[in-house]
């Protein structure tokens, strides 16, 4: 039981990091970034590249990879999402799908499709750590949970308290009004995308150190957007309970239910949510009519 709880927390942290990315992008561009999973993969490969270039120097490789991820987010906004402003939402979502395709093709071209393990080059190890109640997790499992907690705490403080964060919230809510108040919403949206890519990349860096790195990791992103939707696409706070819920359903179906359902369980949660309460647990109801 303790082990199931521990695993749920770890899986929920992964989903929460990805979900945060979805929500941040949605609040900025009103678009579901279907390439979030590929941004996770990209983050993992950035880490692999920096670790290979600077072996045994995790203090350099890790922040560098994170910075590269954030930079990618900015580039994506400037090159793809800004020109799509004013186009139908459908087209913008399609653009994110093509972004995913491009990212994947680029990764395979540069790194080939071999499974990689960045941890080897980093000079770190991933020993198991026993917890209370007989549960055992790996070190990077704990890092994943810690990163999720830290990111959400930081985002919370940033968005609630700091002037830039307040501007970001304003621009996300009513971009026209915000621009008339002098907020540079392009800069703010670029920052949203940078944060989203950073969150995804962070998740990718930790996942690839914990499990493995291969180009097809993007599929994790597909599960996580069910999480974002269940929590409410525009609610950052909703991501955490939604992630816990979806992860719990997944783990429970393996341990006590039908293991084969675990693959499709996020989508069942999504369907249930769409039928009962489409705007999610904590989303704004009017969001439904916006699109």
């Amino acid at each position: 039981m303790a082990q199931a709880l521990a695993t749920t927390l770890v899986v929920a942290s992964l989903y929460a990091l990805l979900g945060a990315g979805y929500v941040l992008v949605y609040r900025a561009s009103r678009v579901l970034n279907l390439a979030q999973g590929d941004l996770l993969t990209l983050g993992g490969y950035f880490l692999f590249a920096t670790a290979a270039t600077f072996p045994d120097a995790p203090a350099l490789a890790l922040p560098l990879a994170a910075a590269l991820s954030a930079l990618t987010g900015v580039l994506v906004y400037v090159a793809l999402m800004r020109p799509m402003a004013g186009h139908p939402v459908f087209a913008a979502v399609l653009v994110t799908v093509t972004l995913g395709i491009l990212l994947r093709a680029a990764i395979v071209l540069v790194f080939t499709d071999r499974t990689r393990h960045p941890l080897q080059n980093l000079g770190l190890s991933n020993p198991p750590r026993p917890l209370a109640g007989g549960a055992v997790v790996s070190t990077f499992d704990l890092v994943m949970v810690g990163a999720a907690v830290a990111l959400f705490a930081a985002l919370f403080v940033f968005l609630k308290v700091s002037p830039l964060g307040i501007r970001m919230r304003a621009a996300g809510e009513r971009a026209l009004l915000a621009s008339q108040r002098g907020i540079n919403f392009h800069g703010v949206f670029a920052l949203s995308w940078a944060l989203a890519a950073f969150a995804g990349g962070l998740a990718g860096m930790i996942y690839s150190s914990n499990v493995r790195l291969e180009p097809s990791l993007g599929i994790l992103g597909l599960r996580a957007f069910a999480v974002a939707l269940v929590g409410g696409l525009d609610s950052l706070g909703g991501v955490v309970p939604a992630a816990l819920l979806v992860a719990a359903v997944e783990v429970a179906s393996v341990r006590w239910g039908n293991p084969l359902l675990s693959d499709v369980s996020p989508f069942l949660c999504l369907l249930a949510m769409l039928l009962i309460r489409p705007w999610g647990l904590f989303g704004t109801r009017e969001e439904l009519e916006r699109v």
Binding site: V31, L32, L80, P83, M84, H87, V89, F90, A91, V93, L94, V95, V97, T98, L99, G100, I101, L102, R104, A105, A106, V108, L109, L222, F225, A226, L229, L233, L260, D263, V264, F267, L268, L270, L271, L274, L275, P278, L288, E289, V291
Partner: protein
Amino acid sequence: MPALGGGYFKTSYEADLALVDTRLRRLALTALVLVLLALPRFASGFVLDLVSQAAFAAIGALALNVLTGLAGQISLGHAGLLAAGAFTTAALVERGIVSPLVTLPATALVGGVLGLVVGIPSLRLKGLYLALGTLAMHHVVLYAAGEMQARAGGNTGFTIPAPRLGGLVFRGTVAWYYALVALAALVLVLVVNLQRSRAGRAWMAIRDRDVAAASVGIDVARYKLSAFVWSSVITALAGALFAYHRGFVSVEAFGFFVAVDYIAMIIIGGLGSALGAVLGAAFVTLLPYAIDALVAGVSPDAAQYYVFPAKFGAFGLLMALFLVFEPLGLVGIWRRVRNWVFLWPFRHRPLRASS
């Protein structure tokens, strides 16, 4: 009596309603039909297969266009509907029912029911939420199909025998070429007529502003559902066609990427236009082969390993370029070129009902 004056003067109501109204259009259409009929004479099996693939893609793209382009209901579940059609056929074949005369109507029925099931949430959901609901449907259908495939005792898929219609057996490239092109033409005529009918106008009204549509008395719920049902029936039938054509059905053939392909077809072709769906289908189907030929022409001995992800990436890049720079799609380009050719030195067509 064909329209005179370049299509601007009509002298009878029949002429106004005609699908193909000017002399030039009739000529072009006749020429196209003749070329398509005679193609097996002078083209290789490979080219015929390409055209067949494009025709098949056009059927699916036209169905998706009805739902998304005309009625404005975003659907990401197209692959799931194709899978439903294909697996219904497979299930019937497994039970010994092989004749298309039985499987096709059954598939249409399943498609219709599935369309209703997916359409009902559409009455509450819009835009992104609807898209996600359809995506969830796709995953559930694929899961069910995967379970069916796994339970069929070790098969990695179902083999479908060649369909027999009366005494005709559809086997081989040429037979399927004619069948698929004919069916694509049929679906095209069907969709164009739907577009011009009351339902089509209602759909377009719902797409543009459904609140306004409701306020002029259009039964939004009924027309939304009918859009889903029409689209799903045609798509499910396309799935059955896929099963017969390939002779083999397995769940791996219906991944999410297939849905992306079809959406790319209607977006690249031009949303809302039947011609756009056909053009987009042809473009997306032929693109990988065009890149192949391009690479083979430029550097035949290129590290083949890089060609393959390059093809994949080129597809994504082109799609992105179309989305960003040419939102009206190929149809938009076609109309601009055609207008320039016919109207030069004038620039703009005068207003008319359809162009």
